[in-house]
């Protein structure tokens, strides 16, 4: 192989300098775009609610493109602390150097900061989110003894999944009541088919069957499945099929196995898939 190593390297971009250039495909279900734009103009933070894989992240990307702001996304996990968001001192050469966290960078650059699945983060993150999310719009940087005043361009967006069955991971009232909430649901059959086709370039017949399979798995929610198949999973399966993977195999890999580990449930989802394809 004489491929130049340098050409294999991923491009290095500063997140706050990166603008989304191409329009991310987004199929609106209702007036979410209007609502988001109005919230942005009023400098209000937004909370996106909805099941996994229904297009929350895609929507934020689309809006960042529309508003021509950089987008900084943080996927929250249960070890994510406030200083992961704000920043910390690191040591280089003989001194300690302050390094901004993603939230601080977003505030400085007037970017859109998107905290994905925010309930996963540790409780102390609310300390930095709250003053940013109300009319103060400041980010306290405790370790530096500074307050960062957000410019008008900055926007905070959170997402969370209310169907997630875990009593430990609910969004507190004091947090949620600071946000404009936009609810996402799975699109209706015709729209979902359109999305699957647009994302995967699959033919209409297969897309229609995939959407039917999704509805079947959503019927099983609560009887062993925590969630039905999301639009994202349908797109994955469609992409596999598009490359010539047999439909039943594609559904098994992209949908059934992604949904569950339970033996009976796996078989049931596969039986449903093989009933359609």
């Amino acid at each position: 192989m004489n491929t130049n190593i340098a050409s294999l390297r991923a491009r290095v971009l500063q997140p706050e300098a990166r603008l989304i250039e191409e329009e991310p495909f987004f199929q609106p279900l209702g007036d979410e775009i209007t609502l988001f734009e109005a919230a942005y103009a009023s400098r209000l933070p937004v909370l996106l609610k909805g099941p996994t894989g229904c297009g929350k992240t895609r929507f934020v990307e689309h809006m960042a493109w529309r508003l021509k702001r950089p987008l900084i996304t943080v996927s929250c996990h249960d070890d994510l602390t406030a200083s992961d968001l704000v920043g910390r001192y690191l040591i280089t050469n003989q001194e300690t150097v302050w390094v901004d966290g993603p939230l601080a960078r977003a505030v400085r650059a007037g970017a859109i900061c998107y905290l994905d699945e925010v309930v996963e983060a540790r409780k102390d993150t609310t300390v930095v989110i709250h003053p940013l999310a109300d009319e103060r719009r400041i980010l306290p940087m405790e370790k530096r003894g500074e307050l960062l005043q957000a410019p008008p361009e900055f926007m905070l967006v959170l997402s969370y999944n209310p169907g997630y069955q875990n009593v430990m991971k609910e969004l507190k009232q004091s947090t949620r009541q600071r946000f404009i909430a936009i609810e996402f649901a799975y699109p209706d059959a015709a729209l979902e088919m359109k999305i699957v086709i647009a994302e995967s370039a699959i033919d209409a017949e297969h897309a229609e069957k995939l959407v039917r399979l999704a509805h079947m798995t959503r019927n099983l929610k609560g009887s062993g499945l925590d969630e039905g198949a999301s639009t994202r999973l349908l797109v994955h399966a469609a992409k596999l099929m598009r490359l010539g993977v047999a439909p039943r195999t594609a559904c098994r890999g992209a949908i059934a196995q992604a949904l569950t580990d339970d033996e009976d449930m796996l078989r049931a989802v596969n039986e449903l898939a093989s009933s359609l394809f």
Partner: protein, 698 residues
């Protein structure tokens, strides 16, 4: 097929001499005495069993005695059929036959059990090793049917495959094909066909009336069944094309008669099938149905009529509630109308087709389901449905909808029968009660009595409570580790490699633990054992409050399988307050100890708690015991053991603290060697329980 020896010790017993008719007759007499008379003797049965080889004879006599404990009459019927059946069935098939019959007996009584015993030939398929039993396929089929569109349907076993439009009944065993895949596919295909009978309106015509005019209504019904199958297969081919292709590969002998092709049109309905039955009755096409299913017009009509009536009143009550929410008193009530809807059979449930005074109204999800179900029966919502019921009717309809509310709701659990080596399905009914509070004085006097020990325990337990820890020398973290930093600086000055582990990180090592205490409240604890149990609980609660573990306390008792009882002393979310203290004081000896059912119920409760470690600790004074079903002894021990195995699989760790000095005879069998502890001095129980808990969870 000849009869291979069914017993496992084949080599030894095969050499043994077969029993004579007289031997067998006397053995049968012993077991079946209760149902024999001078005119009803086991002689015929014994003669037929006598021609079997010895292992098969032993097998039959063993099962006769097992079944006789459940029902001597069923055992008699089994003995009568066994001679013929065991000459044909191998051991596995015979066992499936017997267990299936006993399940039928448990479920539907003697008549059903007898029918299943008589139906042993159903187990004579040539592919017994690749047969698929209902039990093994049931869960997948249930989920499969639930995934399909339309009204939700149950899936249950029955002697024949049919549907009453509410429940899909499937045979206990399918053994037609040489591979398990094909046999399962037949199950799946049959389930889909029966689902289609409900989904695509087979029973939306009066089938009994439709076949009544024929000289042989049974023959007409069979023809109609075949024609409906043609129509529904076409529906399935449109809705589930993958399944249709699989089924076609399975059968290969479609009904190709051109006269039936119009049934394959999307517009065809059951009325077309009925019309065609009239046309073809004199000269029916040759057909051999793939599916083992039948039509039962009476059974389905009854279920359908009941549902239609129930849903009509529920629908009108729901309309009344919608009106109530919208209109002011005194205003003229607006009228409901219906919007035209699409007729696509595969379209998902239609929403918002309902209009109020010509403007669309939002239909709640429950209402949409109801409307979809009504449309499945009647095609559309009839005009007279659109009249909201009066307020009183609304309430009564709601009550009628849920008859379970009248009685206390019981949770139903399976029970393990070690002799059958199978579960008895839906066998135990467990009801939850709250303990009547007793004198709170008991708790305060206990706290006073053991004040010193409690303080000691609290200190021990507080030490176990791990607070936040600071981890040093981390690669990253939320603070700087200055010790490490100084070292690193020194290293750097010396020209050595600079370590990068210079951060501190706070970590919360939480005790992520939930524990369920299951307290024996059987009659045998009466007196000082009960006092010791209650004192132990008080000390435990006091200590646990210091530790901060989540815990719940439930007592258990009961008489017979229908009345297993579980008493809540403290739920997981309840604080240890006056109410809980009162209930601890109020714990009183009740009846028997059917442990299996209690363990299954409490495991389910514990499973709902989110914790990394889940413990189920039983406080017991003796063996499992109940008034009926021979629960006392081996049966109870084996069922309890089975329930504990299930708990283990569900991620619950069981442990038992007992005061029974004979515990080593049976507790190791139930809990394993290391999962129980004996406190042989009842007086020490209060102190010991908390100590054992501390040791267990350190």
């Amino acid at each position: 097929m000849s009869s291979p020896p069914p017993s496992s010790d084949r080599g030894a017993s095969a050499r043994r001499v077969p029993l004579t008719t007289a031997d067998i007759e006397s053995a049968l007499h012993d077991g079946l005495d209760a149902v024999l008379s001078s005119r009803r003797t086991p002689t015929d049965a014994a003669e037929r069993i006598a021609v079997l080889d010895r292992p098969a004879q032993d097998f039959v006599l063993h099962w006769v005695s097992v079944i006789a404990r459940t029902s001597p009459e069923l055992a008699f019927q089994f003995a009568a059929a066994a001679g013929a059946a065991l000459r044909v069935l191998d051991a596995q098939a015979a066992e499936r036959w017997i267990v299936g019959a006993m399940d039928a007996y448990d479920r539907d009584g003697l008549h059903a059990g007898g029918t299943a015993v008589a139906d042993w030939q159903a187990f004579t398929g040539h592919h017994t090793d690749t047969a698929v039993s209902f039990e093994s396929a049931a869960q997948v089929l249930r989920l499969f049917v639930q995934g399909l569109s339309g009204r939700p349907m149950a899936v249950e076993p029955a002697a024949r495959a049919w549907t009453d439009t509410e429940c899909i009944y499937l045979p206990p065993l399918l053994a037609r094909y040489a591979t398990t895949q094909e046999n399962f596919l037949l199950y799946k295909g049959t389930a889909a066909l029966l689902w289609a009978q409900s989904r695509y309106g087979t029973y939306n015509a009066d089938l009994a009336a439709a076949v009544a005019p024929f000289d042989d209504p049974a023959r007409a019904l069979a023809l109609l069944n075949a024609l409906e199958t043609v129509r529904l297969e076409a529906c399935i081919a449109r809705a589930l094309p993958g399944l249709a292709a699989d089924i076609e590969a399975l059968s290969r002998d479609d009904l190709h008669d051109p006269r039936v092709s119009r049934l394959r049109e999307p517009s065809a309905s059951v009325h077309d099938s009925i019309a065609l039955t009239h046309e073809l009755y004199a000269d029916p096409p040759l057909f051999e149905s793939l599916y083992p299913s039948v039509l039962d017009p009476e059974g389905a009509a009854a279920a359908r009529a009941a549902r239609i009536a129930r849903e009509k009143s529920a629908f009108q009550a729901a309309l009344a509630r919608m009106l109530e929410a919208r209109t002011e008193a005194g205003e003229p009530a607006p009228a409901f109308t219906l919007e035209a809807r699409s007729t696509d059979e595969n379209a998902p449930a239609q929403h918002s087709a309902l209009r109020l005074d010509e403007s669309p109204v939002e239909t709640p999800a429950e209402m949409a389901r109801l409307m979809a179900s009504i449309r499945q029966d009647l095609g559309d919502i009839p005009e007279d449905y659109l009249v909201p019921s009066g307020a009183g009717a609304a309430a009564s309809a709601e009550a009628a909808e849920d008859p379970g509310d009248l009685a206390e709701p019981a949770r139903i659990y399976d029970e393990w029968d070690y002799q059958r080596r199978h579960y008895r399905r839906n066998w135990c009914h467990v009801r939850e009660h709250e303990v009547e509070p007793g004198e709170a004085e008991f708790v305060t006097s206990t706290v006073r009595k053991y004040a010193g020990r409690i303080a000691q325990l609290k200190r021990t337990f507080e030490l176990m409570r791990v607070e936040e820890r600071v981890l040093k020398r981390q690669a990253d973290g939320d603070g700087l580790d200055f010790d490490a930093l100084v070292d690193a600086y020194a290293d750097m000055k010396q020209g050595a490699e600079v370590p990068s582990l210079v951060f501190t990180r706070r970590q919360r090592a939480e005790r992520d633990l939930a524990v369920m205490f299951m307290i024996d409240m059987s009659g045998s604890t009466k007196g000082w054992i009960n006092d010791a149990e209650r004192e132990a609980l008080v000390m435990l609660c006091e200590a646990l409050e210091a530790l901060g573990d989540r815990y719940a306390i439930y007592g258990f008792s009961g008489v017979t399988r229908k009345h297993c009882q579980v008493f809540r002393v403290k739920g997981f979310d309840e604080p240890y307050g006056d109410e809980v203290r009162g209930r601890i004081a109020g714990i009183e000896p009740q009846d028997y100890t059917r442990m299996g059912a209690a363990i299954r119920h409490l495991t389910a409760l514990l499973g709902a708690v989110d914790a990394r470690t889940r413990l189920l600790i039983t406080l017991s004074d003796g063996r499992p015991d109940d008034f009926s079903d021979n629960y006392r002894g081996e049966y109870g021990i084996e069922d309890t053991r089975r329930a504990l195995v299930e708990a283990h699989r569900a991620g619950v760790k069981p442990f038992c603290i007992t005061i029974d000095r004979e515990a080593h005879d049976y507790l190791p069998r139930m809990y394993g060697a290391a999962r129980w502890a004996l406190v042989d001095d009842v007086a020490k129980l209060p102190v010991k329980v908390a100590e054992i808990y501390a040791r267990l969870t350190l």
